[in-house]
Amino acid sequence: MDANPREEAERIQSAAQGNLGAFAELVQAHRMRVLRTAAGMLGSLDEAEDVAQDVFIKAWEHLPDYDPRGSFAGWLYRITVNTALDVLRKRRADVSLDELQLVSPKEDPEGIALRQDERQRVQAAIAGLPAAARAALILREYEQLSYKEIADVLDIPIGTVMSRLSYARRALGQSLALEQQEVEV
């Protein structure tokens, strides 16, 4: 998960001692991972930005406790998944899927229309998955993590990763197929 372990270790050490510049470099290197994971978990770019902010604030506060034997990206993924799960728990029950759009308002209207349609379908299907299965699916499909890495991030055995992914894909396949049938009818 890490590109340059030695350089990164130096940055982490420096940031842990309070060097904001080193922390900025870490943020720059890992920002998209955190944003993508949060967006996948929550189905909303705005909420993903907020979660990413929270994740990096937590990372800054707890950097002195970070165990350098583990992967820094894995540590951030774990904070991201946990923070996103907190948001999902706190999210109002009446938030409809229409409000959750994984589409940026910065895109051109045509692009928005095309991407919105497909994204909304897939995102609605993902949102229907239980949070645990969703986390495993997002880490696999969005972040391309191996089963071992997902197991480390979610702190579960590899067998559980396998079963969660299997369940998530089966449920997603059924949900998308059902939705396709409805569209055709």
Partner: protein, 211 residues
Amino acid sequence: MQDHPADTHLQLYLDGELDTDAQRAIDAHIAACPPCRHKLFACQRMCQRVRRTVPTCAEFLSEGEFWGRLAASLPARRRSRWPLVPYMPPLLLSVPGTLWPGVIALLGFLRLLMGLGLLPSVGRLCTTRLIPLLAHPVLEQSLYSWAGWSGQEVVRFVLGGWTRMSVATQDTLILSIALFLFLALFFEVAILYIGWVVCWSGATPSYPNRR
């Protein structure tokens, strides 16, 4: 491969989590088995659909904006943390665990020395100090007055029971009370520590710069 691979095997194959031999075996099976090929392609297509929804960098705030917001929200000082916190649970378990036998042995040894007459009896020492202690004005004005007792009544009652005991029993009783106090102190420290850790780890800072 004669039998169809299980769905979990197909999933592992799709995710590149199988070893080379198993991967080759499934390759061969897929080439010869249209239903499994269809199943695999369907799963692959679905995964690709999910991957196509991955947001791109351009859809989020720019790096500068993101950092600007984050830098403004970062607490100026990290919350200070006692460096021994991570070691406290093992310390709490091991220190009393180690001290317990020592304290019991020490008290037993003291009791032996008292029994042999090599140390003055704590029971006798207490007897001489018990009357001024029980008749202390602070107790008279607080506990006794609240309970409706007089100091003399309490002294008479306690001394009556105390002097009926043998000196050996008095010594044992005093040492047992000391042991109980040691234990109570440990539990108090443990409860305070657990309470503190729960409050400390459960505290969530407020982030004023949220959107």
